[in-house]
């Protein structure tokens, strides 16, 4: 390849990725060699980088499809919409990190920032890549950065242990994904998703079982990332061990990225050139449906007996992953839209809930549910914010979570053939989830506070809260703003 071909690509379309990459590298260098006065501002510079990437991403709305270097980078509307969520989620998490100026537990605070940026870069590459090799590199960039972020509280035994469990589980998942990918490469003779799709649309003959095994193993590996039952074992331990902003990151960005790579691979391969190879996908449908049912039931049921707030939200996030698997049992534009909206709503309400926990955890030095006892008397504002996030997570009308659940529910009933069982289990899971969400409300509003004294909220801490409350309510009352944006 000569220089002219290299320059002929539309590199401008990669501007958001390049911004994140350059800011990440710059911050690493500053952290190594820069003066202390600049080092203090690394979190702020990180936030500026993410905002800049977001500003560069927004004008690409409605841009034609662009392919760079034989589809290793592919700009599609799909990639655009999901990068939108990833960047908004990253901005909220940066605000969350910035709200706490002196973190005594994490001494290497700037490492946190550029690891977060590199993880974000990996997630964005997963959204816009059309080749198994680059998808795998993006996935590993995200995974490796998050392993380190979980273990960043070096002195804390729980953080070490959570990180170790995450590394072992994540590496086994990687091996599964790769093993599946190697079979798919063997059957199709290509790593390009569009080429694979063309090979798969013809009859495979004797190679068909191999392809099915390949797809199922790849799905198993990737479902570790979205933490569905039975591949969820790491989730509560890692969420509890990590510091709260990292937990929010794993719960929102890592999970979004997991769904993005699953939809990117499976939807491109099975609908890539018009005629879907339905027989292959049909052999996976039952598998996905069983995973969805198990996740919804197990996640919500085990959450009932959790007293640690981060563990409770971990199990609730397993339940939410189950809801989001339902649209994947049918391939259509509508299912992408439903998952997209749910993830968008989910990022606001989850980051908001973790933000409230983060605030209370710093002041009360505990993660037990008792931190919420009598919160309405000690800090009415915080109690109202938490109520909004919880009723949104539970799916009460007027909030973003309701619209997301409603779309998925209706989508499941309107699908051909109707997925009544999945819809019924989803309703059941939602009802179970009311119990533990409302238990927190009871703690906040009815129980008297154990200790006297107000819980104060500083300005820096109120910014992410306001953003999350606004997102949750606006998406709940005017969902068409987002749904029209997603054409």
């Amino acid at each position: 390849m000569d220089l002219d071909t290299l320059l002929s690509f539309n590199w401008g379309i990669m501007a958001p990725e390049f911004t994140i990459l350059i800011v990440g590298v710059l911050l690493t260098v500053i952290d190594l060699f820069g003066p202390t006065s600049v080092k203090k501002n690394i979190p702020k510079l990180g936030l500026v980088g993410v905002i800049l990437a977001f500003i560069l991403l927004v004008p690409q709305y409605g841009h034609d499809q662009v392919s760079i270097l034989h589809d290793t980078y592919l700009f599609t509307p799909f990639a655009y919409y999901f990068k939108f969520i990833l960047l908004i989620g990253a901005m909220l998490i940066f605000l969350m990190i910035l709200s706490n100026e002196s973190n005594k537990e994490i001494t290497d605070r700037s490492e946190y920032i550029y690891l977060l940026l590199s993880a974000l870069l990996g997630a964005m590459m997963m959204a816009s890549s059309g080749d198994l090799i680059t998808l795998f590199v993006g996935l590993e960039l995200l995974s490796l950065s998050s392993y380190i972020m979980v273990g960043l509280r070096k002195k804390s035994l729980r953080a070490n242990e959570g990180a170790m469990k995450y590394v072992i589980n994540g590496s086994i998942a990687t091996a599964f994904t790769l093993f599946g990918m190697s079979y798919i490469y063997g059957v199709s003779g290509s790593t390009n998703l569009v080429d694979i799709s063309r090979e798969m649309s013809a009859s495979l003959g004797t190679a068909e079982p191999v392809a099915t095994i390949g797809f199922i193993m790849m799905f198993i590996g990737l479902s570790f990332k979205i933490s569905t039952v039975p591949f969820h074992m790491w989730t509560p331990d890692v969420y509890e061990g990590a510091s709260t902003p990292v937990t929010a990151f794993l719960s929102v960005i890592s999970k979004t990225a997991g769904f993005v790579i699953i939809m990117n691979i499976f939807f491109t391969i099975f609908t890539g050139n018009g005629e879907a190879n339905t027989s292959l996908y049909d052999s996976m449908l039952l598998f996905i449906a069983v995973l969805a049912i198990l996740s919804m039931l197990v996640g919500n049921l085990i959450a009932l007996r959790q007293r640690n707030m981060k563990r409770m939200l971990a199990y609730s996030s397993i339940g939410h992953a189950g809801y989001m698997l339902i649209p994947l049992t049918s391939i259509s534009q509508l299912s992408v839209e439903n998952v997209w909206f749910y993830l968008f709503a989910y990022s606001f309400m989850t980051i908001g809930a973790f933000m409230v926990i983060y605030l209370l955890e710093q002041q009360k030095k505990s993660e037990d549910i008792s931190i919420f006892t009598g919160l309405y008397q000690t800090s009415p504002v915080l109690a109202v914010c938490m109520t909004i996030f919880l009723i949104s997570l539970a799916g009460i009308p007027g909030t973003a979570g309701f619209i997301g659940k409603f779309n998925i529910f209706v989508g499941a009933i309107l699908a051909e053939p109707s997925l009544y069982i999945l819809a019924a289990v989803m309703a059941l899971g939602t009802i179970i989830s009311y119990l533990y969400y409302f238990n927190i409300l009871v703690q906040m509003f009815i129980r008297p506070p154990q200790l006297e004294g107000k819980v104060s909220v500083r300005v820096a801490e109120s910014i992410p809260l306001i953003a999350c409350v606004a997102g949750t309510i606006i998406l709940g009352i005017f969902p068409f703003l987002a749904l029209n944006f997603f054409q």
Binding site: F136, E140, L144, K154, E161, M164, I168, A175, F179, Y185
Partner: protein, 101 residues
């Protein structure tokens, strides 16, 4: 068909690795077993890229990426294990039970 022995060896390696990773007590052995699983993948990729239905070079390129990433993964794993060892003085997996329901 000369490809099958390679695939069978890879499958056996993968299963041995998975078995070891799920049953061994020492974390170092678990990490080695994970390497075994990843190397099974490399064997697969190279067999397909040499003898596959439409043989081409991308399998070998893929295996280079796999080797690199696997090395990085083990480096991170070892670093975390050392941090854990400093706090706990133990590398056995069944002793990692601080976090549980």
């Amino acid at each position: 068909m000369p490809m099958q022995p390679y695939l069978i060896v890879a499958l056996i390696l993968f299963c041995i690795g998975l078995f070891g990773a799920l049953t061994k007590r020492n974390t170092i052995i678990v990490l080695i077993c994970i390497e075994l699983m990843l190397n099974a993948v490399n064997l697969n990729l190279i067999a397909f890229s040499k003898y596959g239905a439409n043989a081409n070079i991308s399998g070998q390129v893929f295996s280079l990426f796999t080797i690199t990433v696997a090395a990085a993964e083990v480096a991170v794993g070892m670093a975390i294990l050392i941090a854990l060892y400093r706090n706990k003085r133990n590398v056995n997996i069944d002793k990692m039970n601080t976090l549980k329901d």
